[in-house]
């Protein structure tokens, strides 16, 4: 029955234009019950750290005492097909069932119990057909049941709709007050994300501000623009690159579609089969149905593979570019620093303002009579004051570098200044290296060289003069030089590129990561063109190159012995949709300064986990080579887990890890901890400091009130942000035989956020996750196959 209930509810969500069949909240995955040591308490409170008073964006949901939801099954005799008709027939009896109801066509939810367990009602269709409707009570749901939680979310969406907010994708937006950024042809709508869930002690609404970036142009406009930019030859490719994967809105309905393909052989005069079986052309259809005249009859047709079935339509949907508007940002736009800066002004709200905007939503709800009536009818209400509680800030970490110990200002979470000019833990000499540049960049190349010679001695990097090679600014020219000049003794290849054209970069990386495994460093000429920043840039490049060659920069104190830390992240190719890449990074030494890196490249439909298992095996072998024994503790930080995938992870991936460990040897049973890392969470925390709301300081740990009772989970705010609100990272320990106290797991996690060598500061996730992300991204974007294993003991992908 349980399964039926939830499938019915998902239908209900569908009807409400929630539109998603997946359970995004991973309800019903109860991992804590298997971990005895956190059964009683999973908080690290009163172990370490100082207290901090926090407010959050959660609001308590309250209901009448003895509140329950009544679930009925509704049957029709004779059987009625159309859901609309089923609803209409049932609602002829509002005097029996009441005005307050939620109905998906077969399951009916009511806030009250009907007189009888089985109620028979009689209706008549317009055609005069008599229908018997049987309404049978199937369930009495307590407020905390998973079905009820889903139901709350549906009701809440209804409320947002009543407030005249527009649904786009999963969230609701206010169209009446858009911010427009004409320079980039963008429009930003302010809206809200919301979810109602069972948290530690209460059912709460988590509401956050969401910004939707919309574009004033149609897909056809964009195509014209692309055409004017790239010309005829590269036009189709450029369109595919720019458009596929984007979400569009249409002129005629309130749906969003993902562009999966462009059909260049079709045009608006092409025909399609309507649901009634008749054939019509797009031009005719849109004219007839929506009175829309398609003006350009030569444009191609966009293809969207519908994931869900809506009505009779299934499979690919054809869309006319002229009638589609773009939403969201392309990767190209995300990489456009100026655009992101202009956007950030509007989207990065500081804590006070963010909380005020969230408060605005709550006040809409509180003040709208219809909304209040709906809530009252269901017997529900909200506590309109955000929940506040106490979190704690764990002790700051000390940074060690070649026998020196550094403190840094915890407010900035950055030690760039403190460690400048200090010898590295392990500096790899650059005895033999190449510097490749075009004629135009000759001066820039020399500037870089001079600067490198200036900054490297104090870091302890020994550097010879490079082999300087001038090339034509063509991909083949670069490749030819690489083939001729790179020898097995080459430490590193530095290429100065004149533009951020991806094909050149890809070709260089591909060659030097696969065919000829040598670390490489590409630098954009523009980055080196400003005299005032050249020293900083050169320092950064020197550090980065050193890591790529196997150098070590700094470390933090790691109290655990014989431990191997693993980080996993995934990259999914959104453009071609063909590949998924999992980056796998595992520590090699006690100080966690050296890492073993591999990745798994899988085509669509294959499971990544099989490859991950093989990675773990080689990682263990390498660890034992370095340490002359096997690790007694293994921590896996698993990033890249989508909403609703937790179940798969718990039931499939973790057992595979265990299998893998078992296969090493019968007497080998290390302690294993698997932690799911999530960066995209709606929870926000605000520290109450000096009467105002501020971002919580780095090291803030939250493991009460807003965590989930069925999980062993916690939040850490590790990084700082200059603008806007800091996003906490959510950690969910799904498997743990470490016997460590939650406090220790939390602090280990926080320590790991200090170990990412491309940033001399604290980052959002444990370093191995960020390394894994970097690796997967490089492979997914540029290399498309597994890099040469010769490189696997270095951070060549930084």
């Amino acid at each position: 029955i349980g399964i039926q209930v939830s499938s019915g509810l998902q239908d209900l969500t569908l009807r409400d234009r929630g539109g998603h069949r997946r359970d995004f909240h991973d309800l019903g995955v109860n991992t804590r019950q298997a971990m005895v040591h956190v059964q009683e308490s999973k908080t690290g409170m009163c172990f370490s750290g100082r207290m901090v008073k926090l407010t959050t964006n959660h609001f308590r949901l309250t209901s009448r005492p003895q509140w329950a939801l009544y679930q009925y099954h509704v049957g029709y005799s004779p059987e009625m097909e159309a859901r609309r008709l089923r609803s209409a027939l049932l609602f002829q009896h509002e005097e029996h069932i009441g005005k307050t109801h939620a109905f998906d066509g077969s399951i009916l939810f009511l806030p009250k119990k009907l007189g009888n367990k089985v109620t028979e009602l009689f209706s008549r269709t317009r055609n005069g057909e008599d229908v018997k409707i049987t309404v049978t009570l199937t369930n009495e749901l307590p407020p905390t049941s998973p079905t009820c939680l889903q139901f709350y979310n549906i009701i809440f969406r209804r409320l947002l709709k009543m407030l005249n907010l527009q649904q786009i994708g999963r969230n609701y937006y206010n169209p009446s007050d858009p911010v427009s950024i004409p320079k980039h042809r963008l429009m930003v709508w302010l809206g809200f994300t919301s979810s109602i869930l069972q948290y530690e002690e209460n059912i709460m609404l988590c509401a956050d501000v969401s910004h939707k970036v919309l574009r004033g142009e149609t897909v056809l406009d964009t195509m014209h623009y692309i055409h004017s930019q790239v010309g005829e030859e590269r036009f189709r490719d450029a369109c595919a690159k720019e458009l596929i994967g984007l979400i569009v809105l249409t002129k005629y309905n309130n749906r969003t579609y993902r562009i999966d393909d462009i059909d260049w052989d079709n045009n608006p005069n092409g025909t399609f089969r309507k649901s009634d079986g008749s054939e019509t052309s797009f031009v005719e259809y849109y004219k007839k149905q929506y009175n829309i005249e398609i003006s350009d009859w030569m444009q191609p047709v966009l293809i969207s593979q519908m994931k869900r079935r809506s009505g009779n339509v299934q499979g690919p949907v054809a869309l006319i570019p002229e009638l589609c508007s773009l939403t969201g940002l392309t990767d190209k736009m995300r990489n456009d620093f100026n655009m992101m800066k202009d956007l950030a002004i509007h989207t990065r709200l500081p804590p006070d303002q963010r909380q005020r905007e969230i408060g605005r939503l709550l006040s809409y709800i509180q003040k709208d009579d219809n909304v209040q009536k709906e809530l009252r009818n269901w017997g529900l209400s909200f506590d309109y004051k955000p929940v506040s509680f106490t979190g704690r800030v764990v002790q700051g970490e000390k940074i060690f570098q070649s026998g020196n110990m550094f403190d840094y200002n915890p407010q900035f979470a950055d030690w760039t200044k403190e460690t400048r000019g200090v010898p590295l833990i392990h500096a790899v000499p650059m005895d033999s290296w190449l510097l490749i540049y075009t004629r135009r960049n000759y001066d820039v190349a020399n500037t870089l060289l001079q600067s490198l010679f200036k900054v490297s001695p104090s870091m302890g990097i020994r550097m010879n003069k490079p082999n300087m090679i001038e090339v034509d600014d063509r991909t083949e020219a670069y490749l030819r030089v690489l083939q001729q000049k790179v020898t097995p003794d080459t430490n590193i290849v530095v290429c100065i590129l004149s533009s951020s054209r991806k094909d050149k970069y890809d070709a260089i990386k591909k060659y030097l990561c696969t065919d000829c495994p040598i670390p490489s460093q590409c630098v954009l000429a523009r980055t080196l063109s400003k005299p005032q920043t050249i020293m900083t840039v050169a320092t950064k490049i020197a550090l980065q190159m050193n890591c790529k060659m196997g150098g070590e920069l700094w470390s933090v104190e790691i109290p655990l012995k014989q431990v191997m830390i693993v980080g996993i992240d995934c990259y999914h190719d959104t453009v071609s949709g063909k590949q998924s890449v999992a980056g796998f990074v595992a520590s090699l030494n006690q100080t966690l300064t050296r890492w073993f890196s591999r990745c798994v490249v899988q085509s669509r439909g294959q499971e990544l986990v099989d490859g991950i298992k093989a990675c773990l095996q080689t990682a263990l072998r390498n660890w034992s080579k370095w340490n002359k024994c096997l690790p007694s503790r293994i921590f896996v930080y698993r990033d890249g887990v989508g909403d609703g995938q937790l179940n798969t992870l718990v039931n499939y991936e973790v057992p595979q890890f265990l299998d893998c460990l078992k296969s090493i040897g019968t007497d080998y049973s290390p302690r294993l901890t698997v932690i799911v890392v999530k960066k995209r969470v709606a929870a926000r925390f605000f520290a109450e400091i000096g009467g105002g709301l501020r971002n919580p300081p780095p090291g803030t740990v939250v493991d009460t009130t807003v965590t989930r009772p069925e999980w062993y989970d916690f939040f850490i705010v590790s990084q700082t942000v200059k603008n806007g609100c800091v996003a906490p990272t959510h950690y969910n320990v799904i498997y743990d035989t470490s016997q460590l106290k939650p406090d220790h797991v939390q602090r280990l996690t926080y320590k790991l956020c200090h170990m990412y060598y491309n940033w001399s500061g604290i980052i959002r996730v444990p370093a191995p996750c960020q390394y894994a992300h970097k690796l997967a991204f490089l492979v997914g974007q540029s290399i498309h196959r597994e890099p040469n294993l010769m490189l696997s003991d270095r951070l060549y992908y930084l």
Binding site: M187, E232, M298, S325
Partner: protein, 371 residues
């Protein structure tokens, strides 16, 4: 009529497209023909007819009236503007309003309409309401055209199981003669002409039964009443407004200004981009691409193709700034269409776009150049 024959018949009476769609199509055709600006649907129920009518580009005011507020409320969101309506405001203005009230009552909000539709409405009216109905619709609202549809009871024997009426809420169902005599009398009384038609063709051999839905189209014979006459009609508002949506439109200065600013800056960016890449091209040692490009003759005409560059209209670089003359921007078709006149363009962007000191060109800093 042979009973068996009739029964055999009843099995196959199914209209394609469904009858309600045919009724809606009938109204739509009427709208296409008369191009009314203001249309009211009395008894709008689930608002499906209104939803279809909002796509008719001649209509600027759309109103619905129903005695049942909850059915309107359940469906009113379908009448809200779509996100795209905000993104690309349309040329026409459109206001959609839903009122809760009875057709037996007069409310000034129903004055001044060109077309009033009463689709499957009158048969739901009780005797006293039906009596007041002609005075309210034809006497008070007095639109140029009224459409009334109602079931034709002569068709009912062809349906299985229809005992008395087609729907339990129907108070009556008229024969063709009954409807026509009521309609003719009403038309005569309020100085309208009326023509009869219908949708739902009777099956062959049964033509005498008439259309399944009978329709009367009433056209007012006297000319449009002036404002003065309307104001003489003393009435208070009795309807309750349950929904009102004003669609974003370029007729609204706010949206027009936004659209113009956005288009001006965007156009200027394109010109600037082209200017800068031209500058770079000289020392660009990339032999592929650009030079080979010729404006194609296929569907994708060059975005900038229509640009006419006259003297004094060329964009130029001076120091750290790029200047793009407004005249050049104005020559772009989209900007041109939006503003109409050059003066209007200047007025709309005043203070919103950075201009050169004499106000003749859009000015950008080169430092912003992004790649």
């Amino acid at each position: 009529m042979d009973k068996n024959f009739q029964e055999e018949f009843t099995q196959i009476i199914k209209f394609t497209p469904p009858l309600y769609k045919q009724r809606h199509q009938f109204v739509k055709d009427l709208v296409e023909k008369y191009k009314p600006k203001k249309v009211a649907d009395l008894g709008c129920a689930d608002c499906s007819l209104l939803r279809m009518l909002k796509y008719c580009s001649c209509i600027e005011v759309l109103a619905g009236l129903d005695i049942c507020a909850s059915v309107m409320k359940e469906n009113m969101h379908m009448l809200s503007p779509l996100p795209v309506d905000y993104l690309q405001p349309s040329e026409r203005s459109l206001t959609v309003t839903l009122h809760h009230g009875s057709v037996a009552h007069k409310d000034p909000c129903m004055l001044g309409f060109d077309l009033v539709t009463c689709i499957e409405l009158i048969e739901h009216l009780e005797e006293p309401e039906l009596k007041k109905f002609p005075e309210v619709v034809f006497g008070f609202m007095a639109p140029s055209i009224v459409v009334i549809s109602t079931p034709n009871s002569e068709f009912n024997p062809l349906f299985p199981g229809v005992m008395l009426y087609r729907h339990p809420d129907h108070k009556f169902e008229w024969t063709q003669a009954q409807f026509q005599s009521w309609a003719l009398e009403t038309a005569r009384c309020y100085d309208y002409s009326v023509e009869f038609t219908g949708v739902g063709q009777p099956p062959t051999g049964m033509e005498k039964a008439g259309f399944c839905t009978q329709i009367g189209v009433f056209v007012r014979k006297y000319p449009q009443t002036g404002e003065s006459v309307q104001s003489e009609k003393p009435t208070e508002a009795v309807y309750k407004t349950v929904f009102k949506a004003v669609y974003p439109s370029l007729k609204d200065e706010k949206y027009l200004q936004n659209a113009v600013i956005s288009e001006v800056i965007f156009t200027a960016q394109i010109i600037k981009h082209r200017l800068m890449s031209k500058h770079e091209e000289y020392d660009d040692d990339d032999p592929e691409g650009k030079s080979k490009f010729q404006p194609s003759m296929n569907c994708f005409s060059d975005y900038l193709g229509k640009l006419v560059v006259e003297k004094g209209m060329e964009p130029f670089v001076s120091g750290n700034e790029v200047y793009i003359p407004l005249a050049t921007i104005f020559s772009f078709p989209k900007v041109n269409r939006l503003c109409g006149t050059f003066e209007k363009l200047c007025k709309l962007i005043a203070g919103k776009v950075t201009l050169s000191s004499d106000g003749s060109a859009v000015m950008f800093n080169i430092e912003d150049e992004d790649e």
